[in-house]
Amino acid sequence: MRRSLILFVCALFGLVLKAQVQVSGQLLDAQTGEAIAYALIEVHESGQQTGTDEHGEFRFRVKPGNYHLHIEAVGYEATDYDLVAQEDTTLVFRLKPTFLELQEVLVEDSYSKTQQRKSSLSIEKVKLEDGEGGIGSSLAEVLKKSPGLNAYNTGVGIAKPVIRGFTGTRVAVFDQGIKQEGQQWGMDHGLEIDPFNPQTIEIIKGPGALQYGSDAISGVMKVLPAPFPGEGYSGSYTGIYKSNNNSRGHSLQTAYRHKNQFISGRASYQQYEDYRVPAEEFVYNSFVLPVTDNTLKNTAGKLLSGRLNYGLLKPGFNLRVMLSQYRQKVGLYPGATGIPRAYDVGNIGQVSDIGLPNQEISHTKAYAKLNFKIGNNWLVTDLGFQQNIRRENSRPHAHGFQEIDDNNTLALGLDLNTYSLNAKYSWRAHEFRFNVGTNHQFQQNRRSGWEYLLPDFDRYNGGLFALVEGELDPTWNWNAGARVDYAHMESSQHLQPWFNDPDSLVERSPFLQRDFFNYALAFGLAHNPNEVWNLKLNLARSFRIPVPAELVSNGIHHGTFRHEIGTPNLDSEVGYQADLGLSFTQKALYLKLTPFFNYFENFLYLRPAATFSPLPDAGQLYRYTQAEAIHTGAEFFVEYHPIQALHLSTALEYVHSYNIETGLPLPFTPPLSNLLGAEYIGKINQKQSWSIGGEYRWAAAQNRTDRNEADTPGYHLLHGSLGYKRIFNKLSLRIGLRVENAFDTPYLQHLSRYRILNLPEQGRNIIISLNLKF
């Protein structure tokens, strides 16, 4: 009796002691065997981070279970490891040294960070220094450095990400875990994310529909959350000045961490004047119109953004909460909505004023992510709310609405509320990794204003997916998945008075209720025959559910300045996609070729109807139609370090699109383009370094255009930069001087809202930036 009691107490004691297991080990250089100090090891599911000491050793504790480890160290290829921790474990990692910057990081694949070589999809990673995103004229501009990625801009301040020529509702953008919903079908609706905030952006070039849903048919852009701050107080200040439009931007970030909790926040402000172009006139419809003082009238803007984060790490769960608001007001060039008039565009007025017409946006987000352990595995859930308020302001009389008081400048108001809920569970069994998840989204759109484009609508979209990953042998990784989606949409009928008969009521959009049901499939392979070669193949069948704008809109859309009409009975777009990737990696040389091929059934596009709009001063009607389309192309990227300090790269991209029904290319196809880059980093000592670099952008002419789309001539641009970094005791300083378009070259950009007016892009821009981390 007593013996069994002692045994029982011992066993109980043992259980309590064994509540957590210890994982320890060492990181070594694969070639020299030397210890790697100050590396970072992160436990994916629990969020724990630990570093290696000067002996390359690490130690941390976790509750027994399955975990995925990420190991990153500067100068070494990053790696990941599946850990089964049921008892104390010792590990040794041998990391391969590299000069190549992108090999130092991991990418997110299916459910966790993994090495690029194991992923079957082509994933681009854009790493920004703290606040560096503010250097571009808007967040989407940072993508231009990478092959296959572009931005469609409306002047300065408004830009949409373009992946292989696709944008809008064919590219899903995620800010941390919440899918950005801001009426992205609009060509002049930019990304409503603070450009100073992101530090790492991952882009999937290819179908991400399986995990990310309908909108990801052609790509996914993910702004990853900032890493956990260090213990105690920390923060940074970034200041950026740009000469071309007298832009002044400031961003302040602060964080406080105590053991396993942290709170952080960022506030950014940016203000800029009308921007300058290297032209004194432009020709539109055989009229010669002035560009007074090389300045584009009413293209000034301002931006104010704030974000608050809270995080809590516990062995059995971790929580992250985020609140943010983004406010922006940008002037729109008056010639872009209607026929430009010399007296109007020539009189530039005050360059700092934001007059009419303009666009105002307020985007609020509230988001919470909760990971918790169930058995040996983890359930990841997130909940989000977004409110996107858009206002397009202009003078009613300028649009023929004479009966409206000229002081009522609200042309179009769109209020969109989106509620989202996601959950994902992953586990390992019999050498396979399983991943199941569900996504739900509910949206409400309410309109206002004296102009009409699309009605009030409510929309629900839900999906369920499952993914399996496995290894055929150590050199072959494969993955397969399936997804089903259901969507229900209800949009209201809208009656609008006719422009010259205020007492009449004309139905602009019918009442519409529709249900959509569709599925997606994906299969991928990654082959690593040796350390040098890597081959990827990804095959997918994806779909995209039409958005309400494509079904029931009926009005002049200022994003394109056309009268657009939706077609209520459109089917979902279905795409059959093949992506290939071939890469060659050595210590100082990296080559990557990524061809792709997409065939779309029911590709949705705006077709000129050969009938005029009955609205005054409106051109012909453009109707949403469906057709078979082919979309193909490739990217080629080379990175070479003749010596470690010198980085040379070239990124070539090409897209070829074809609408089988019209026999014409698809609109807004980016031209063949190459970006040549060189950068030299001079290390003065452990605490100081400087850099000098340059970029040469060449774009071919784009003569493969859709009906009524103008050809765009090719151009050459040169950019240069100088940088200096210094670490003091607790401060870190970074100064940068950048010249964009060094030769003040006038050039037309095919992917630009102002292209139809033959307006060149920004001229020479000298950018001074200062970043201080404390």
Binding site: H397, N500, A610, F612, G619, Q620, H656, Y658
Partner: protein, 262 residues
């Protein structure tokens, strides 16, 4: 593995070729507006209210014409009076064939406001190719609009002014009911006929607001003191003296006279 890769590449290339060779060259050539006239003129057109305007357009296309749209509205340049609505009208004409001479009419309502108007002509062909648009400006007059009468200098003759001297304008602006605003400017003439020109080279610009309720007459000298000092370093050439008069009903009248500075 290799088979899948080869197959997909072959399939892609195959599809591309079949698709490209299937259709003939697509017609993306825009139709052309060869000429447009209002009342058989393309400039200096004046129409009295209550009358019909004749619209003529000569249009061509390489394959098949589609539609012609005529938008008529005012170009009062931002002057707006809530009480009165200016006349605006839209006319869409169906076309056919490769060439057509269009003839149509629009009735100018009796109560239309007097002032500068224009007609914008837009053309599309049967495929939806958009041509360049064309515009014709014209003035609408009525019985109650302001009348601008300049007695000196005589704009029927050549008006010359030397640099450094003063250009005295003498005359009156009258209205049947009540004048509201008079704008006078002396600007360099531009080759392109745009509505108001740009802000450069403006030697004189004055805005006179008449706040009374029965301003039926306004004198250039007595009320406006319109004596324009021509700077000694002014650029020689042709300038336009423009007088815009607006009454309380919203009727506008515009006078333009050429001045040669030497």
């Amino acid at each position: 593995m290799k088979k899948i890769k080869t197959f997909s590449v072959l399939a892609a290339v195959g599809l591309l070729f079949t698709a490209c060779n299937k259709d003939e060259e697509q017609d993306t050539t825009a139709p052309v507006i060869q000429s447009v006239t209002i009342n058989e003129e393309d400039h200096d057109i004046t129409v009295m209210v209550g009358n019909e305007i004749h619209i003529d357009a000569h249009v061509t296309d390489n394959e098949a014409l589609g539609e012609l749209k005529v938008d008529v509205h005012d170009v009062f340049d931002g002057h707006s009076h809530k009480s009165s609505i200016k006349w605006a009208e839209v006319l869409t004409i169906q076309l056919s064939g490769k060439e057509q001479h269009v003839h149509d009419h629009m009735e100018v309502p009796q109560d239309a406001l007097a002032g500068p108007y224009h007609a914008v002509f837009r053309l599309i062909d049967a495929e939806g190719n958009e041509g360049e648009f064309a515009e014709v400006d014209f003035m609408i007059t009525n019985a109650s609009q302001p009348q601008i009468s300049i007695t000196d200098p005589d704009f029927n003759d050549h008006v010359h002014v030397t640099k450094g001297s003063t250009l005295r304008i003498m005359g009156v602006v009258t209205d049947a009911t009540d004048l509201a605003e008079i704008k006078i400017s002396l600007e360099e003439e531009h080759e392109e006929h745009d509505h108001k020109g740009t802000l450069d080279e403006s030697l004189y610009e004055e805005d006179f607001d008449l706040d009374g309720s029965a301003d039926t007459s306004w004198d250039f000298q007595a009320d406006g003191n319109v004596n324009i000092a021509i700077p000694a370093d002014a650029e020689e050439g042709h300038y336009i003296l423009r007088v815009v008069a607006l009454d309380d009903e919203g009727n506008m009248n515009v006078f333009e006279g050429e001045v040669h500075i030497m």
